[in-house]
């Protein structure tokens, strides 16, 4: 346990050192610490100045804290959306769905043809790997109430660990566990694996057997499904996985029994993933598939994962644009103004003090920087607390932000937020305190101490 913690720490440090930016940032941080030490008396002076009006300092800090937190949350969502919509140009997946219909329902035979990339001529390319997805919804209740409903992905167990991103970052134990479950399902197709929350919802335990009454495949009910394990934490926590043969065999059995095929017999393939090595191959594949006579009825389309999400997010595009370019700047402007107000009041209150410092020989520039430093300090501390708080609270206590945007899992605050927060805090504080600092800089000693003032 301890050893593995150490090892993962070591890995993190190595990963950290991998990026030159990280090293530069760390060096800057160290440099800042050295300066801080060299300027210890100034730092003390600045910190003590803030103690003069603890309430105002606290209010300024709280406003910064709140607003930085809001921005951290907004940016976390935008950041993730950017990440998933950014095109990857190597080792990415393409999604094949029915062209004209949502939900997409294709014949299962399409999967075989897609394995060859719909190749018809010599020189045609193939995807590196292919994975079929079939959606099966079933409830535990023969009356088909929706309460004990489970959504299954019926798939080829062999592809679970090779194709699914969510299982790529498993630790060693989880990986072994997953391998064991895959093998078990391959041995006995009646076995199923459920997400933790799904299991909780239907109030069952690992080892129990359930019967499923389908809600989307009329008459395709599946008895005697043995729950052999749970999926690792992740976005599949409300779903179940089953062997695709279980569904396909049941469809075949239906035809034998009823003399005619199930109405959905040729519509049971919902989507197919293709693993693609690079964009060039993607272009060729997309063209092959588009031109292949095998995919005439129904026609299919090929998209990259991100373009699929992008087109989905199109519906939210105006809103996201507004959030990014109107809401966030508005919040930042508000924050700067709050800080500007607080700092101007405190500078005005301390006009005499600034003048005294000038008499003692503190130059205009030094006074300017002391005021800026005071603001930056408040910004830094509140920004850091805010981002750190958001990171811990939202990720650990809330398990992420649950937003009703598409099928996204709860949004987590990325580790990057830990530097957004302090940076935002400092920058807005600096912007807000430029004018007050300038006026402190320009305090005229003779005026402050003359009888006029």
């Amino acid at each position: 346990m301890f050893e593995s913690t150490l090892r993962s720490l070591d890995e993190r440090i190595m990963a950290f050192l991998d990026s030159p930016w990280n090293v530069v940032l760390a060096a800057l941080g160290l440099f800042a610490l050295v300066l801080l030490y060299a300027w210890a008396p100034y730092v003390r002076l600045v910190v003590k100045s803030m103690r003069r009006n603890p309430l105002r300092t606290l209010l300024t800090g709280s406003a910064t804290f709140l607003l930085v937190m809001v921005i951290t949350m907004i940016w976390s969502v935008l950041w993730l959306l950017d990440l998933v919509t950014a095109e990857r140009s190597r080792d990415f997946k393409a999604i094949v769905t029915e062209r004209w219909q949502i939900p997409s329902q294709m014949p299962f035979s399409y999967e075989r043809i897609l394995e060859d990339g719909g190749a018809t001529r010599r020189g045609d390319v193939k995807p590196q790997n292919v994975m079929s997805w079939q959606f099966y919804g079933g409830t535990l209740d023969p009356k088909k109430s929706r309460e004990n409903l489970v959504f299954f992905f019926a798939l080829d167990p062999a592809k679970v660990l090779t194709m699914m991103d969510e299982f790529r970052d498993l630790n060693e134990d989880e990986h072994l566990e997953m391998q064991k479950m895959v093998r078990a399902v391959q041995e006995d197709k009646r076995r199923i694996v459920l997400g933790r929350d799904c299991l909780k919802r239907i109030n069952k335990r690992v080892g129990e057997r359930i019967s499923l009454f389908s809600i989307n495949y009329q008459g395709i009910d599946l008895d005697d499904c043995e729950i052999i394990g749970t999926l690792p934490e992740g976005r599949l926590t409300l779903f179940g996985l089953m062997h695709r043969d279980r569904l396909n065999n049941a469809l075949d059995a239906y035809e034998r029994k009823n003399g005619s095929p199930h109405p959905l017999a040729k519509k049971s393939l919902n989507l197919v993933w293709l693993q693609i090595p690079d964009t060039e191959t993607y272009g060729k594949l997309a063209e092959q598939i588009a031109n292949s006579p095998s995919f005439a009825d129904p026609a299919v389309k090929v998209e990259t994962a991100s373009s699929g999400i992008s087109s989905f997010l199109d519906a939210y595009r105006d809103m996201l644009w507004g959030v990014r370019w109107l809401l966030v700047p508005a919040i930042l402007a508000t924050l700067s103004m709050v800080i500007a107000t607080a700092i101007s009041i405190s500078v005005r209150e301390r006009r005499i003090e600034m003048a005294v410092l000038k008499v003692l020989g503190f130059g205009p520039t030094r006074i300017l920087f002391m005021v800026l430093a005071e603001a930056a300090f408040i910004g830094l501390v509140s920004g850091a607390l805010s981002a750190g708080g958001a990171y811990l609270y939202i990720n650990k206590a809330m398990g992420g932000l649950r937003l009703p945007i598409a099928f996204f899992p709860p949004f987590r605050i990325p580790l990057e937020a830990l530097w957004w927060g302090p940076t935002l805090g400092i920058l807005t504080a600096l912007v807000g305190s430029i004018f007050p600092a300038w006026s402190a800089r320009s305090v005229r000693v003779s005026q402050v101490f003359s009888k006029l003032a």
């Binding site: 005294v356 003692l360 503190f362």
Partner: protein, 242 residues
């Protein structure tokens, strides 16, 4: 020994709207090194303005000011600030200590501007506080000190950099007679033991009487010079109620 302060044909005017106020109208003045000089005069006669100019807090409209070997009348704001740190100790009427800092930290303040180690700063602050007799109060904040004690801290802060001149604007103006006497004794002692040059503005004749020389200012002109033992001073001291 030449004069440590030399003021030649000094003019200062302020602008208030379209109106120009001539506050100082061609002053000439010399202060020998180690002298305790008092500036007297009615309110509004330009005492503070003159003192601020000598201390390098403001620049003259015309004329020259030399302090030590530096012509300060032509220096810019930033250069003057640096010059003040080393060469001027300023004592205010209302002490003007920073309320959030302890007596020790207040005295240390000007030293932050000099290239000194923490140990050197400590040495100098302790010496200054010893000279004003406040070593037992150095962890106190200004709010926890009496007016007289605060003014001692103010004086310690003024002498901690060992400046060329010490300037004081009505240093006893806010104190009761007893504390005022204390502060004057302290200034005289500093001048005697450390040979400090002191320029003090006051309108209290008894305070002025402690100085070696008194210059009288009226409407921006030097009108008279008296010694502490002049008939005028003796007379004024005699009629002053105690």
């Amino acid at each position: 020994m030449g004069p440590i302060v030399e003021v030649g044909n000094l003019h200062k005017f302020f602008r208030r709207g379209s109106e120009q106020i001539d506050v100082l109208k061609g002053l000439n003045l010399e202060v020998p090194e180690g002298e305790f000089l008092a500036l007297m005069g009615p309110s509004g006669s330009g005492k503070t303005t003159l003192l601020n100019l000598i201390a390098g807090l403001d620049t003259p409209s015309r004329g020259t000011i030399r302090v030590g070997d530096q012509l300060i009348s032509t220096m810019g704001e930033g250069k003057l600030a640096a010059w003040r740190t080393r060469h001027v100790g300023f004592v205010f009427q209302f002490y003007h200590l920073l309320p959030v800092l302890t007596a020790y930290e207040n005295v240390e303040l000007p030293l932050l501007l000099l290239p000194l180690s923490a140990a050197q700063r400590k040495q100098q602050v302790t010496t200054a506080l010893e000279l004003v007799g406040l070593t037992d109060r150095m962890r106190h904040r200004p709010g926890q000190l009496s007016g007289g004690q605060q003014q001692r801290v103010g004086i310690a802060r003024a002498i901690v950099t060992d400046p060329t001149i010490l300037v004081a604007d009505e240093p006893t103006g806010d104190l009761d007679a007893h504390s005022a006497e204390d502060i004057l004794n302290l200034l005289v002692a500093l001048q005697k033991s450390l040979q400090k040059t002191i320029v003090m503005v006051t309108h209290d004749p008894r305070a002025a009487a402690r100085a070696a020389r008194i210059l009288h200012l009226d409407k921006g002109r030097l009108v008279r010079e008296t010694g502490p033992d002049s008939a005028e001073s003796l007379f004024q001291r005699a009629v002053q109620p105690d």
